[in-house]
């Protein structure tokens, strides 16, 4: 099941992506018990993000998604719990990151740390460069601001 979930949430990289996805799930749940004779993916047309709807359609066709509404509800609940368990990394950086760079960071975590993480990125030009990083209660300042102050502090 985790592999299915992993595939479903593959595109979720940042905190914003996560919030959006959870919001889509809450909309989806409202249609689980309505017009059950019609497939869920059909019912969700124009109701949720099309990419997500297509993924659900694939699941339906592959008979991965259960047919009964109750089972569907459990499935999406488990998916939600899976998402909420993904660890978050807070990154404070000095510039507005491109999607490519965000993907690069995600990949770095996947390769170097062997962990799937959600990136909570905030932009603060005052730190000049580098990053301030917080992960599972640990925080460290690797900014240029700190380096500059260290340098002038010595002077």
């Amino acid at each position: 099941m985790e592999e299915i979930f992993e595939k479903l949430v593959e595109k979720i990289i940042t905190e914003e992506d996560l919030v959006f996805f959870l919001d889509q799930l809450s909309i989806l749940r409202r249609f689980l018990f309505l017009q059950t004779q019609i497939p869920l993916s059909e019912r969700l047309k124009n109701k949720i993000d099309e990419k997500l709807r297509k993924e659900i359609e694939k699941l339906e066709k592959g008979r991965i998604l259960p047919s009964s509404p109750e089972e569907q509800s459990s499935f999406f609940k488990e998916l939600e719990n899976f998402l909420l368990k993904i660890p978050k990394v807070k990154l404070e950086i000095a510039f507005e990151p491109s999607e490519e760079f965000i993907s690069e960071v995600k990949e770095w975590f996947k390769e170097k740390i062997k962990k799937r993480v959600i990136l909570d990125i905030s932009v603060n030009p005052k730190i000049v460069g580098g990053a301030r990083i917080e992960f599972e209660g640990k925080w460290k300042d690797f900014s240029l601001e700190k380096e500059i102050e260290k340098l002038y502090g010595r002077i």
Partner: protein, 230 residues
Amino acid sequence: MEFGEILIFISLGVGFLVIILLLIDIYVSRKRRDERGEISLKFSEEFWKRLEGIIEEETKRMVIEIEKKILEDLINEQKRQISNFRQKLEVMAEEEKKEVSAFSQKLEEKRKSFEESIKRETLEFAQSLTKEKDEILKEIKRNGERLIDELNRKFSQVLDSFSESIKKKISDAETSIENYKKKRLEEIDREVYRKIVDVSKKIIGKAIDISTHEKLVMDALEKAKKEGIF
């Protein structure tokens, strides 16, 4: 009743008694002659009446004379007594005068003595006052000098303490100024440092391009990994 009136009544009584005695004597003489058989002359009633009138007249005259005599005696006696009394009075007056004179003299002496005594005492008092005044003046002068010395001493003490206090205040003020200066200099240093840091950050921040930023973030992740953050 006065003494003169008593004498008049006594004189009148004596006069009546004399007349009665004369009448008794005449009657007794006639009777004796009748008894001896002598021829006696017979007097007429008119004669007796005249005789009685004469006797009465005589008696009255005598009484008046006696009265006059008594009155004269009385007056004389009175005069004498008055004279005596006057003499006595004069003597008394003289004595009184003498006494008054003596008293006056004594009084004068007393007055003089009193005056002298007053003068003497006044003089003594004045001398005493003068002496006392001199003493008081000396005492005042001594006290004044002592007071001035004391004041000078106190003033000097106050001045010294004031001077000490001023010195301390100046020292405190200098210390405060020094501290303030130091603090301000530190603040200025900090401010300058902050400005330099801010300017440096801005310059460096502007000088860094996106790829360098990205590389710096990736370096930061590597460092975090090495430090065991993940």
